[in-house]
Amino acid sequence: MQLQAPPGEPSGSAPSASAVTRSRSWVDPKTFAVVIISAILVFLVAPPLWFLLRETFFPSGSFDLSGFQRAFSTYNAAALVWNTAAFALLSTTISVGLGTFLAWYTERSDLPFKQLVFAASLVPLVVPALLYAIAWILLMSPRTGLVAGPLNSMLGSEVFTIYSLTGMSLVQGLDNAPLAFLLMVAAFRSMDPSLEESASVNGAGPWSIFWKVTFPLARPGLIASLLVVGVRSIEAFEIPALIGAEARRDVFTSRIWQVMNAFPTDFQQAGAYSTVLLVISAIIVYSQAKFLSGSNRFATVTGKGFRPGALRVTGPSRRFLASIAQLYVLVAFVLPVGILVYASTQPFYSPPSRQAMSRVTLQPFVEIFSSSQTVRALTNSLILAVSSATVIMALCAVAAWIIVRMGQRGGWLLDNLTFIPFVFPGIVLGVALLFFYVRVPLPIFGTLWVLLIAYVTKFIPYGMRYAVTAMVKINRELEQAGEVSGASWTKVFLRVTLPLLAPGLIAGWIYIAIVSLRELSSSILLYSPGSEVAAILIFEKWTNGQIAELSAFGVTIIAISLVLVVAGRLLGARSGSLSR
């Protein structure tokens, strides 16, 4: 995947003689950065990819496609492909549609309750996907669900159920919406409002302005959202594993899990499914790259000053849009978090009733916090969240500059290397890393280090999306102004580029910290006693039927994640004001 230099613009400014001398040297910071970051990325990416391809195509040393034959003949392949495609398309549409609407609502309109909507938009992000699935199961189980149960009783049949392709797509769509929301927020914030203001002055209404001005300018962010969310939907594990399994709607990831959990494990078959997913993801990412190759025509953050503004929305549109937002808050935040809070106060779960309310107790919280395993899992998760987010965004800040500014001259390798983990299903990455790190003479297997490596490998593409999306919006003239004034590349990067990147980097840091807290599909294969993380604990308690305890633990995780989000938002606001 390559982001080309804008057409008609030189690929680099004409260097002075001293600059040419510096660029020949091996200590040139750009060269050094390319070499170091490339080395790190190769170490992270190459072994998992090697093991995946070897186990799939050369399991016994010679070329062998029997894994594909078993994968698509021993199981209903047509149903698998259909389920995966339909699930990904439907959930992506829901996520990106919701995310874009909510981002526009909070960043580009003067509609009410923006702070509440912003907070609620991030709630699915701070709730581990496994917990979100469990919450929706408790809400929408056809007979006993808090919402579906009474509705179906009135209708006399099980019309509303979570156990369907629609149900799982809806939950996945809600779960991924914050990701699209954050990407679109970054896109909308970086957009000069003067074009919209000009349209408004010339008499265009809000809908016309949105479709003819805002939406086209937001297209890079929208494409990025479709890419990220689409691939995320294809590789989703928790929701298909819990809801899809009961709905008998297996997708590729849940099928891989079934194969990996069986004995004897057919690694070649699992690799075949994974390879298909890789190809699909590669096609999606390549399509996006082709579109973004002319990225400079979307640059609106220039050397000139700008103030993000809000579009006035009046009349029936105002009431309608505000109602939609409030409904979203109810569906995405109040109901799922509410049912988890309720479940955390029950000795064992039963639908809310007068009898159930008489059993309210805080005993699940006592059980959780008196358990050394819980404290250890929480601590491990926090350590991994902070460290992986920091490492990733530090790498991505530099890598994004290289990719966007240097293009073919050094960015091509980094761009492709950071792309590769993006298409790895988390569960396959876990398997590949497990094989690699039990073999190499590094004493990290069974420790948090192997999990950190897994998280950095898995989430670096997401960090890159945030960093590159932010980088694309910054016109070169600001950096050129610094270079012309005699500043070194390093000083320009630290004093000019990094502050402008800060909102995107902070958004990326928040996202990675939060998804690290909820990560399950790789962790479940790599953890050992002492290195268990929060999602593992939740998964274990679900398989053991400890709904009250897992809800208590989940509510705690949500609270911690919300603190992270708030802190990040405050930091982002502060850095945004400093960069003006």
Binding site: P142, A262, F263, T543
Partner: protein
């Protein structure tokens, strides 16, 4: 000049990539399922060190002094034991508490495998890499049979050896901590006992469509075919049309019954049921009138772990009368002939143990047949 410098940078990046790739992926790499190299026999330590027995000798000699020797050796080995289990945490934690009441200086950690397959894969992977960490497994016959075939277990003679039925031992290296008999369980708030299905054939009646759950264990599926014989295929054809809720394990099959989403599960065992009942869940269990499927949960000691003496000491505790009584209190059917389950009716009159020597070689086929048989 700029072009040559840039080309040099590109070559450098490529060179780095190739070097890292070869370094990361080179070296000999054995297949995951390759048998672990035989570990060297560790020496027993402690006060008898002057005339020290090997661990294998100690394991085969259940003398009255053995536990003390094992205890001292376990402390000398670091005082930590690691268990690989598939039981509910509350149960294993109760066992650990009981063990620590006798041996407070030994720290016991456990890893709970998400499924039979995942636990087997973890042990084999670690063993193939020479990094086996566990000292004890307490899972089920399926895991034990497979891992025993890989030569991973230490053969030992329990001091309670005579109290254990050899027919319940799937291999010489295992002893059955308890026996799981498949049973039905229903939600007492939603189902009247008079309408309950009494046989597997009753499940095929229209009134039970969409009302029960089943845990998809392929060894159970094999066991059912063993019991039903020629009528098994026809039975499962109709079974799939009953739209059962298919769960991966016992507890996920029981949860929908507790919540009222299903009225009955045909896949539970007494210990899991008792655990939920103790929390107030409206459940009762019973055995079908047909012969029911059974398998044991054996305890084993791993040869390549970090503290095999400690592992053997833990196994001896579990197999002791005290350890077995603890399991009985938790609703399990003890493997020890001298300890009865509570209530005694938890041991059904008619049960058939799964024959793993016939099942394991054809496991992949049975997995596929089960997927079709349960309508997946």
């Amino acid at each position: 000049m700029t072009r040559s410098v840039n080309f040099g940078m590109r070559k450098a990046a490529l060179a780095i990539a190739v070097v890292m790739f070869v370094a990361a992926c080179g070296g000999s790499e054995e297949a995951v399922t390759e048998q672990a190299p035989a570990p060297s026999a560790p020496q027993a330590t402690g006060p008898e060190a002057g005339a020290a027995q090997t661990l294998e000798e100690l394991a085969m000699n259940p003398s009255p002094e053995r536990n003390q020797i094992l205890y001292e050796a376990a402390i000398a080995n670091g005082g930590e034991i690691l268990l690989y289990v598939t039981q509910p945490p509350a149960e294993i934690e109760a066992q650990i508490a009981g063990f620590n009441a006798l041996y407070p200086d030994i720290s016991v950690e456990y890893y709970r495998g998400g499924s039979t397959g995942s636990l087997i894969n973890r042990v084999l992977t670690e063993s193939a890499a020479g990094r086996l960490r566990a000292d004890v497994t307490q899972t089920n016959d399926h895991v034990a049979f497979v891992l025993d075939g890989q030569g991973l277990f230490l053969e030992f003679v329990s001091s309670e050896d005579q109290a254990y039925d050899p027919a319940l031992r799937v291999a010489r290296t295992v002893y059955p901590a308890y026996v799981n008999y498949w049973m039905f369980a229903y939600n007492t708030d939603r189902v009247d006992p008079s309408e309950l299905p009494r046989t597997y054939a009753d499940l095929l009646e229209p009134e039970w469509t969409g009302r029960f759950s089943v845990a998809a264990y392929s060894d159970w599926f094999f066991g059912m075919h063993d019991i039903l014989g020629d009528s098994a295929d026809e039975f499962f054809e109709q079974f799939a049309t009953q739209a059962p809720l298919i769960a991966p394990q016992f507890t996920p099959a029981l949860l929908p019954v507790i919540q009222g989403e299903r009225d009955l599960t045909i896949s539970t065992v007494s210990g899991v049921l008792r655990g939920q009942q103790s929390q107030g869940a409206p459940l009762e269990g019973y055995f079908p009138e047909d012969e029911t499927v059974a398998r044991t949960v054996p305890i084993t000691v791993l040869r390549g772990g970090g503290n095999p003496e400690g592992g053997l000491l833990f196994a001896e505790y579990v197999l002791s009368v005290e350890g077995q009584q603890l399991l009985a209190e938790r609703g399990r059917v003890p493997g020890h002939r001298g300890v009865d389950p509570d209530p005694i009716e938890l041991r059904p009159e008619r049960a058939r143990l799964i024959d793993y020597s016939a099942f394991v070689p054809e496991e992949a086929e049975w997995e596929a047949r089960m997927a079709r048989g349960l309508g997946r």
